[in-house]
């Protein structure tokens, strides 16, 4: 029966729980008293197991050291190994140094590392207190008041998704309220005079958070093909969300990840019918290369249909190795997304259609410099923060 005996929390774990309480109190205090603070939330719990060894966590926390010298700075370690730093006033240089240091840590992890936008959150209090409080809630083990039910904090799911689990998850997704998992990323255009202006906002459901909520014991990306199948269900939920009355009333240009089959689905037709006239020609649909090649006949049909309805189409999933094999013009799409990586940085050749390329994961000055050197105008990432007014998309 020893496995049922309540386990005494280690000193470290107790301190993390205390930190979570302190951070909660601070965030609430900012809201009730209208106190302005800045915060950086580092969601280390989202790292895959192989990038979450003690030395990774230690180095990641150390990367935040520059910020701890900011005015009134306090660092909080949460029970799931997420870390938050809260400070007062501007600390742009320290923030940039910390961000660069964290990103550098995982630069070689490639696909294994979550996107920076899912790992790092720069927040302003009190307006972003909800995000911080949500992270605190998620950091606490389920059934925290019952030691028998407690799960080890930060334990990553290791069981891969299989067809029965996928079917169950698809069923659960059909019923779940996924609106709170909607996330946005900005795609910005580099201006000739310097700086960036917003072109469109990419809207996507946070798969990691949905999975952690609905199927916390499964590693849903472990089988890439079952994961791709799951994205079709997510597409349908996303399209249903966007087709809701008033959802797009005040929206500007935006983008969506969709599967080919999703463009040809009843949900897309409903979404298309609900799309305000002003947004016609202002929506970018991102298609994944493997999905395009899985059913080329359906792709050609969907491509021509979507373009006929005024959507711009972007191809993602193309790496430097595949650039020659999948020329944008031949495949008949408008934009190509390239993800910045150490491998891409080694590409020295001229990029075809550079003015139609979106450089994603442009999180560092190095990425921006590489993009500039190759004539790229469109960027997504922490280093491409738009400051100018929003522009309309040219259909």
């Amino acid at each position: 029966m020893s496995n049922l005996a309540p386990r005494a929390l280690s000193e470290e774990a107790q301190e993390q729980r205390a930190d979570a309480e302190r951070l909660r109190t601070l965030a609430r205090g900012c809201v009730t008293a209208g106190i302005a603070r800045r915060a950086l939330l580092l969601r280390l719990s989202r790292l895959p197991e192989e990038l979450k060894r003690p030395h990774h966590l230690r180095l990641a926390r150390s990367a935040l050291d520059p910020l701890t010298f900011a005015d009134r700075a306090r660092l909080f370690r949460l029970p799931n190994e997420d870390v938050a730093v809260v400070w007062r006033g501007e600390a742009a240089e320290a923030l940039r140094t910390s961000l660069d240091a964290v990103l550098h840590l995982f630069a070689d992890a490639g696909e294994r590392a979550p996107e920076p936008a899912a790992l790092l959150f720069t927040l302003g209090l009190p307006e972003d207190a909800g995000t911080l409080l949500q992270a605190i809630e998620e950091s606490l083990p389920i059934g925290d008041d019952d030691a028998n039910k407690a799960t080890p904090a930060g334990a990553a799911p290791t069981e891969p998704l299989d067809p029965p689990a996928l079917a169950a998850l698809e069923g659960a997704l059909a019923q779940a309220d996924v609106a709170r998992f909607m996330r946005r990323r900005q795609i910005a255009e580099r201006l000739p005079e310097g700086g960036f202006r917003l072109l469109w906002e990419k809207r996507a459901l946070s798969v990691a958070e949905i999975a952690a909520t609905l199927t916390p014991d499964r590693a849903i990306r472990a089988d890439p093909w079952l994961f791709r199948r799951l994205t079709r269900t997510l597409d349908r939920r996303m399209l249903a969300l966007l087709a809701a009355p008033q959802e797009l009333r005040d929206a500007g240009p935006f983008g969506l990840n969709l599967n080919v089959a999703s463009i040809l689905s009843p949900e897309f037709l409903r979404f298309d019918a609900a799309l305000p006239t002003a947004l016609r020609g202002q929506v970018v649909i991102d298609l994944l290369l493997a999905d395009v090649m899985a059913d080329p006949a359906a792709f050609v049909f969907a491509r021509d249909f979507a373009r006929g309805r005024g959507y711009l189409l972007l191809l993602r999933g193309v790496t430097s190795d595949l650039l020659d094999a999948f020329p944008l013009r031949r495949i008949g799409l408008d934009l190509l997304q390239l993800r910045f990586s150490p491998e891409l940085a080694r590409v020295d050749a001229t990029l075809p259609d550079a003015d139609h390329i979106v450089l994603s994961r442009a999180d560092t000055g190095t990425a921006l410099a590489w993009g500039r050197a190759h004539g790229i105008m469109l960027y997504q990432g922490l280093a491409a923060v738009p400051t100018g007014p929003r522009a309309a998309l040219a259909a």
Partner: protein, 455 residues
Amino acid sequence: MQQPIEAETAPGTRAEGCGGPERLLLEAARRAGRSPQGRMALVLHLSRLAAPGPRPHHRRIARAILDDTALRHDGQVFALGNGDMVLLCAMAAQGQAPAARPLYGLALSDPAAVSATMAALLRVDLPNPADVATVWRLQESLAAFTAYAAERVAESGLALAPPEPPAAGPAEPTVVVGAIAAIAEGPANNDFMQRQLGVLVPYHSAAAAGLPLLPLYRELSFSIAALEARLAAPGQAAADPFLFRHLAGRLDPRMLALLADAAGTGGALDIAAGPRAAPPHINLTLPAILSDGFARLAARCRRCGVAAGIEVTLVEACGDAAAFARARGVLADAGLKLVLDGVSYLALLLAQPGTLRPDLLKLNWSPRLPDLPAEERFELAAALERIGPDRVVLHHAETEAALRWGMAQGLRRFQGRHVDAILAAGRILACPQATGCTVRQCMDRGAAIAPPCAA
């Protein structure tokens, strides 16, 4: 698209009343005959789409466009049992102002333009635009339209019998794929193994004349059809390309284990046992090629001097370019050939898979190939020329037309049921014990792999 989209209705279902859509259409044609001025009928011939069309998305999008047009032009849409859809509506008035909102090329402001829109969308499946739709101005062509409606009613006569109770729908694809994987992972899974030869047609030879085909390789694989048959789920495993890739990944460890078990037995799965002129080809996923099991297979190939070909699908290569590059390196180091499998003619028109540097590329035969529009025909010929005809196998060559088309393109490498039939016919002619054997029986025996360790 202004109307909410109704739940999908398959062709032949009676969603539009007990009289069936054909009878309703005939009634509507007769009513329209009383006042045909300014009205038109458009028949969208989805029934002409070759299998696997019309696919659900063809029907869904066509229905949405027709419904939208009907809404704007006082119209009605009929989805007929043969798959055709009919739009009966008012014609666009002369000099009519464009629709209030931008339509981006769908040209729905003029119902007659729907045929051009649909022809553009369906050009892959129905290359001749004239086959896509028929438009009748009722004032002049009422009789032709009424005759069309009457023909559909006559055709659907059998369907007017009391509807059969709905059959149980196909099982969930996730369930089928999971069950197939479980069977393949279980005992006696070599019962589901099969082989098929890829051949070279020598110069100055005519396959149809029975001249010898030279074996190039023998592909060893799980018979998905046999696995589906065990579950009475024909066509289900590959219905979803993503689930099929998952299934392939589940089958690979079993394939590698079976090949390892067969080593030294001299059986059909012993990679060292077959004729040197026809080394084995094995279709694998990237994780399998990068696994320890594959390293053992590659070492055995090297020891035995077997230049095996490892087939990787184009979709698999697109799914993980980094793993594909690593796998290509592994194969090159092991002296094995990289074969790019599952390349459709559309993929050759959309992309340049030859730049992925395969030793051999397997182009899937499609009955549409001989009838491609001129521009696509030239583009495809140029693509094959860039790759090099000697590096291309025409796969799924199931008919004589496939061989004829391939040879006209300068291709000499083929794999498929028609090749199997020619080889079987040759074997029967040469076999003293073949009395009473049919070509089909000989083909099946040629594809079968006996259990290597049967007691």
